[in-house]
């Protein structure tokens, strides 16, 4: 696996950084791709491999401005994988939202409940 995997942000897709040594996963910006499954496939593949060889602690950061419902399905998959990892390693998930963006805050709380996984919601 690649140690560092990066996708640059576009007008409608987020910046993604996956850093194996540092145990960092970061997704930020707008996630409105036409085909979310295809966009997130390499991220999910990378993460699946990472699970078997992860460092002792992992931090995942979500700093999203917008995401469409097809992205939410993929984010759910990513958080589910992180939950899997949390059974053997330490995992911290941070979900950022802009001041006043209650929907984004609620989304973080909803994912936490859905995946039964602690997610820290943090105001930017």
């Amino acid at each position: 696996m690649e140690y560092v995997y990066e996708i640059k942000a576009t007008e409608d897709t987020p910046a993604v950084t996956l850093h194996k040594t540092n145990g960092l996963l970061s997704i930020s910006g707008k996630s409105l791709p036409e085909d979310s499954a295809t966009f997130y496939q390499p991220v999910i593949e990378w993460l699946s491999v990472y699970l078997n060889n992860a460092p002792s602690s992992t931090t995942a950061e979500f700093k999203l401005e917008y995401f469409n419902t097809s992205s939410s399905k993929q984010i759910f998959k990513i958080i589910s994988l992180l939950k899997e990892l949390s059974k053997t390693k330490s995992v911290a998930i941070k979900w950022y939202f802009d001041k006043g963006d209650k929907d984004m805050q609620l989304s973080g709380e909803r994912f936490s409940k859905l995946c039964q996984m602690p997610i820290e919601t943090i105001q930017n």
């Binding site: 409105l32 499954a37 419902t69 097809s70 939410s72 006043g100 929907d103």
Partner: protein, 373 residues
């Protein structure tokens, strides 16, 4: 919860408008405040459409030039002190290679005579005369106080190869609404597009009556969607409420991606998914309306989906969301099946829809979502 139907254009009215515009390859109407960012998005929206219809680069350049000049004229001459009803207005229509670009803005009656005579002078000249006149103006006049060189109109006439059309519509209080239209023909243009002032004024009245900020009728692609989203984000941003702006964009994404994924195109050679989008706003909030054809075989399933979402309270809606997100997508399924749930969650209001039965086993579906301030 507010009644979505009360604040939005009715499905029947949306269908009537769609039928009027349907024969155009593209119709785009904007009423509101113009700025360079909006201009960029209108240009990129038109570019995407011209590429889709395979317009020659020569025509594209002409349209582009006239559009830039038209939009810059509006940006310069719009009167931001006016009430929303009198905000500036812009229309692009394209029918089989014939383009009609119209600007509309309020003007003081003391200026109409001079403006008419400038346009009449331009219209009286043949191409050689225009070339001479352009050179003369370039050498002999300074910039006007609004930053224009007076050359814009001459160049629009030269580039388009057509006479400039204009019309003053008298308003109260020593002012008029100035409609200004330029036509551009492509080499293969086959249509005779109706750009009469009456036609444009009817469209303008329709936008005023229904408090419409934006109409887009044409092909929906993912590329277009990005331009439409940024435009809407800009047009609702006069309201500084971040949550409201985000809700509006979120709801619009779901409605537009629905058109991209599910619209049918019964009558046209398919260049993509055909539909209409309207953004309107009033003192209570903002309404996003979408319309497109669907196959009759899909109508019942769709109605059931929306009716179910509308019947649920907040906690039941959360449960449905949870049940749906964990489901694996079926092969060929576009989208996550969460769109309507998300629209109701974000807007906080029921989804209003109308299905009008059309010929050849197709129906026209219109959907309204209303986001309160």
């Amino acid at each position: 919860m507010l009644s979505t139907a009360t604040y939005c254009i009715s499905g029947e009215q949306l269908f009537i408008l769609f039928k009027e515009l349907e024969d155009y390859n593209l119709s785009y109407v904007y009423k509101g405040i113009f700025n360079p960012n909006l201009t960029d998005k209108i240009l990129s929206l038109s570019e995407t459409n011209m590429n889709l219809t395979g317009e020659s680069s020569k025509t594209q350049k002409k349209v582009y030039f006239v559009m830039v000049e038209t939009l810059q004229n509006i940006t310069r001459h719009q009167d931001l002190t006016q009430s929303e009803e009198n905000h500036a207005f812009f229309v692009v229509l394209n029918k089989n290679g014939e383009y009609s670009l119209t600007s509309g803005n309020i003007i003081d009656d003391s200026k109409t005579a001079e403006l008419s005579s400038s346009i009449e002078k331009i219209n009286s000249l043949d191409p050689d005369g225009l070339k001479e006149y352009s050179k003369y103006v370039l050498e002999n006049t300074g910039l006007s106080d609004k930053g224009g060189a007076g050359l814009g109109l001459i160049e629009m006439a030269r580039k388009s190869g057509n006479k400039l059309l204009y019309h003053f519509r008298k308003l109260k209080d020593n002012s008029s609404f100035f409609y200004f239209n330029t036509k551009v023909h492509s080499e293969k243009s086959t249509a005779e597009l109706n750009n009469s002032p009456d036609n444009i004024m009817r469209l303008h009245d329709f936008t005023k009556e229904h408090k419409i900020n934006l109409i887009y009728q044409g092909v929906f692609t993912h590329e277009n969607l990005k331009s439409l989203l940024t435009m809407t984000e800009g047009s609702v941003s006069k309201n500084d409420d971040l949550a409201f702006k985000r809700k509006t964009v979120n709801v619009m994404v779901e409605l537009l991606q629905n058109i991209c994924n599910h619209a049918s195109t019964p009558n046209k050679e398919s260049l993509g998914k055909h539909g209409i989008l309207i953004v309107s706003s009033n003192d209570k909030g903002c309404c996003i309306s979408s319309g497109n054809y669907i196959n009759n075989s899909e109508v019942n399933a769709l109605k059931q989906k929306i009716d179910l979402v509308n019947s649920l309270n907040d906690s039941q809606l959360e449960d449905l969301y949870s049940d749906t997100i964990v489901k694996e997508q079926e092969p060929g399924q576009k989208g996550a099946g969460l769109g309507f749930i998300d629209i109701k969650m974000k807007s906080g209001n029921n989804i209003d829809y109308t299905v009008v039965s059309c010929a050849n086993s197709y129906s026209f579906l219109s959907i309204n979502a209303f986001i309160a301030f």
